[in-house]
């Protein structure tokens, strides 16, 4: 594909190669619509493997890297935006970046099969003084002649170089164009400095908004073409100006040749089946079940069980045997029970995380992820969540950690935080173990276990509603979903993203899990005077006894074993199964005596309260400390309120 250059640019520049101009260090920014292929282009230019996806909202922050063919050039990938208006966080971020640290050139990434959509942003970029080159993506899915015609028409109409991206050669051409426009528009640094000083002085009226700054701190004047001349000023953020801009863009788009993607027709046909009124739900449920079983059951579960039940005890035994000659039980226990169990619990999650990440990457690449949002949106919006949350909630039935790991697919920030906060209420497989153990000992009817499960789901709905009611309203972005084309997932992309997700899990959640495991090991084995004691007398035990009056209204103490059940609640933070193990130790081999109602209340409280440490770490990594803390406080409150309600209802039932 040839590069079409504007007639106004010097011919000499057209033949410039990266090596010829590589003396000056350059910063080039990629700016374009969501799901326009910026990150894919960024990965091609830099040789990096950043997360990409066939949906909007994959990039949320700037990411910079050196170009692989030109170490003097830094390429910055910006979040996808539809406009440069200061409303959504991504738009603010990109606008501020262009205003405060203007790059030497901008590559405007434009999907050639959806040119009209992207030209709105292009029109705003052309009104800034940052030199731009248009990169036409998706060129490989359209007719080559159509793309060439569009390329020429765009370059002529907008007076900017335009490159169709369809291979390594086109990337080199794109780079040469960027260097050319950056060199031709070389900044007068002195002028820029003076302008910045002027703008900073209090006595001089400074540009009041971003768009004025965009054009004032550069010596280069914005390009003037017939198209740009018709546009409203960039600092006019009124709806009338936006409509006027849209109409100007529509006029231009009407004159441009159309590039039909060969994926459009295929997408229409596939949607006819996948979104069919009769087939949509069965296909959706099948995909959800497939994800659930592949990531939480089958070979993956077997591998996790082997790690947890065979490999971990073997390593712990090995460490104990190795350190036996030292005669230092505390150090041996620290390494064998604290550090090893922490590290191995992280390792135990890796098969699940890897399989899940691969499945999620494949789903995103295929374009079905956006359709999942479409199918599940209405029922989930009733509890304050959005369609994309459905994947996380389904996975939550297997493991909360993997479910929270999948929350990255939820586009809207607020919805993502809500989803991460709601997921721990869904009973995971570890919680089912607690239900099974308590049911076997204390409850006669299977309906009791079913009711526990139902109450958990009710609590999840309540949590979603509360977060929706009292949180900032951001349904707008969740209510509009762009439907990408269906594509076959590329194994290389799926592989790279799986590695990236596993690495992120190890870095963010893994370290926290190991640290907290060691801390809990210490709290369960030592008292406040740092003497090695039993669990009942340990720091954890003391805190449990201290807290037991708080749990008395919940019925934990109705047979005099309140302290044991309070301690087990605390140790349950390590892992929910650990609560049962603690109770067995404290009850000398069996669960301590408690009434069936007390057992029901204890089980319910443990199902609803703060989840295991791995889930906590994953939650903090996904939504930040502040939001995670709020969510856990809400969780404790809901757990207490529900359990208290269950106890009062139980007592009243017994009375009547």
């Amino acid at each position: 594909m040839n590069t079409i250059r504007s007639n106004t640019l010097p011919n000499a520049l057209t033949t410039q190669t990266p090596s010829a101009t590589s003396a000056r260090a350059l910063t080039i920014a990629l700016v374009g619509n969501p799901n326009g292929g910026k990150t894919t282009l960024f990965n091609k230019i830099t040789g990096k493997a950043l997360r990409t996806g066939n949906r909007a909202g994959v990039t949320v922050n700037n990411r910079a890297a050196q170009a692989k063919n030109d170490k003097n050039t830094t390429v910055v990938d910006t979040p996808g935006v539809n406009a440069l208006s200061p409303y959504s966080p991504e738009e603010r971020h990109t606008a501020n970046f262009l205003a405060n640290t203007p790059p030497d050139a901008v590559i405007n990434v434009l999907d050639c099969t959806r040119a009209e959509r992207g030209l709105y942003l292009t029109s705003q970029l052309l009104q800034t003084s940052v030199p731009a080159v248009i990169a036409l993506t998706m060129a490989d899915t359209a007719d080559r002649n159509d793309v060439a015609r569009l390329q020429k028409s765009l370059a002529d109409a907008l007076k900017v170089p335009c490159v169709a991206i369809d291979g390594e050669q086109s990337i080199r051409r794109l780079f040469a164009e960027c260097r050319a426009v950056a060199s031709s528009n070389a900044r007068d640094e002195k002028f820029c400095a003076q302008n910045r000083v002027t703008a900073d002085r209090a006595d001089v009226p400074c540009p009041t908004n971003r768009s004025e700054r965009l054009t004032s701190n550069r010596s280069v004047k914005p390009r003037k073409t017939n198209f740009v001349a018709k546009l409203p000023p960039t600092n006019d953020f009124s709806p009338d100006a936006a409509v006027s801009r849209r109409k100007t863009v529509a006029e231009l788009a009407a004159k441009l040749p159309r590039c039909e993607s060969n994926l459009r027709q295929k997408t229409k046909k596939i949607d006819g089946v996948f979104l069919h009124r009769l087939f949509a739900l069965p296909i959706f449920l099948f995909v959800m079940l497939a994800i659930f079983f592949l990531s939480s059951r089958g070979p993956c579960k077997m591998l996790c069980d082997i790690i947890a039940e065979r490999l971990t005890p073997a390593i712990q035994d090995g460490i104990r045997r190795l350190l036996l000659p030292l005669s230092a039980p505390a150090i041996t226990s620290l390494l064998a029970d604290g550090v090893t169990s922490g590290v191995m619990s992280v390792v135990g999650f890796l098969p699940q995380i890897a399989v899940l990440s691969a499945l999620m990457a494949a789903l995103e690449e295929s374009g079905y992820m956006a359709r999942i949002a479409l199918i599940a949106d209405l029922p989930l919006s009733a509890i304050g969540l959005c369609g994309q949350s459905s994947v996380c909630l389904t996975l939550g039935c297997g493991c909360s950690v993997t479910a929270i790991g999948a929350a990255g697919t939820v586009k809207c920030d607020k919805m993502r935080c809500s989803t991460v906060s709601v997921v721990p209420y869904v009973p995971c497989s570890a919680k089912l173990t607690v239900i099974a153990c308590m049911s076997a000992k204390f409850f006669d009817s299977a309906l009791v276990a079913v009711s526990l499960y139902a109450v958990c789901l009710a609590a999840a709905a309540l949590c979603g509603l509360l977060l929706d009611k009292f949180g900032k309203s951001t349904r707008f972005s969740a209510e509009i979903v762009e439907l990408p084309y269906y594509r076959l997932p590329r194994p290389s992309v799926v592989g790279k993203q799986t590695l990236l997700s596993v690495g992120n899990f190890l870095k963010k959640a893994g370290t926290a899990i190991v640290a907290t495991s060691v801390l809990l090991w210490f709290a369960q084995r030592f008292d406040f005077l740092l003497r090695q004691v039993t669990v009942a007398d340990s720091i954890c035990g003391s805190i449990g006894k201290f807290l037991s009056p708080l749990f008395a209204p919940l019925g934990f103490d109705d047979r005099g074993n309140g302290a044991a059940y309070a301690v087990a609640t605390l140790t349950g933070i390590t892992a929910k199964e650990a609560a049962i193990a603690t109770l067995t130790v404290l009850g000398n081999g069996s669960l301590p005596e408690i009434s069936p109602l007390g057992a029901y209340c204890w089980t319910l409280y443990n199902l609803l309260t703060v989840p295991c440490v791995a889930t906590v770490a994953a939650s903090v990594a996904e939504q930040g400390r502040k939001n995670a803390l709020k969510a856990f406080c809400l969780q404790v409150l809901i757990a207490y309120a529900f359990t208290l309600f269950a106890r009062i209802t139980g007592k009243l039932t017994q009375y009547f």
Partner: protein
């Protein structure tokens, strides 16, 4: 309170008497022209950036399982709008 209510009724009747219907009631396969968007400035700008503005032509493509959201074709893009979102966009049928 009654003033606000009467104003709302007036707006409602004005829109409907002139043949405008909420986009959420649009028929699949029929083309519509947007004649009003009842949203604040911020939402209007975000709608405009997506190609939804007064005068734009929009076509409902298919509805999701529960009737919401509905996928629409606007210019050269397919987007899905939740029913609540489509309800604030008033449209008029375009005869081709």
């Amino acid at each position: 309170m009654s003033n606000v209510l009467s104003k709302k009724i007036e707006l409602f009747s004005t829109s409907f008497s002139s043949g405008a219907i909420p986009l959420s009631e649009g028929k699949i396969g029929q083309k519509y022209a947007i004649c009003e968007i009842r949203a604040d400035t911020e939402e209007l700008l975000r709608f405009a950036a997506l190609g939804l503005y007064v005068g734009a032509v929009i076509e409902p493509l298919f509805a999701a399982l529960w009737g919401s959201p509905v996928a629409y074709k606007v210019a050269d893009v397919e987007i899905a709008l939740a029913r609540a979102c489509a309800r604030i966009i008033l449209v008029r049928s375009v005869r081709s």
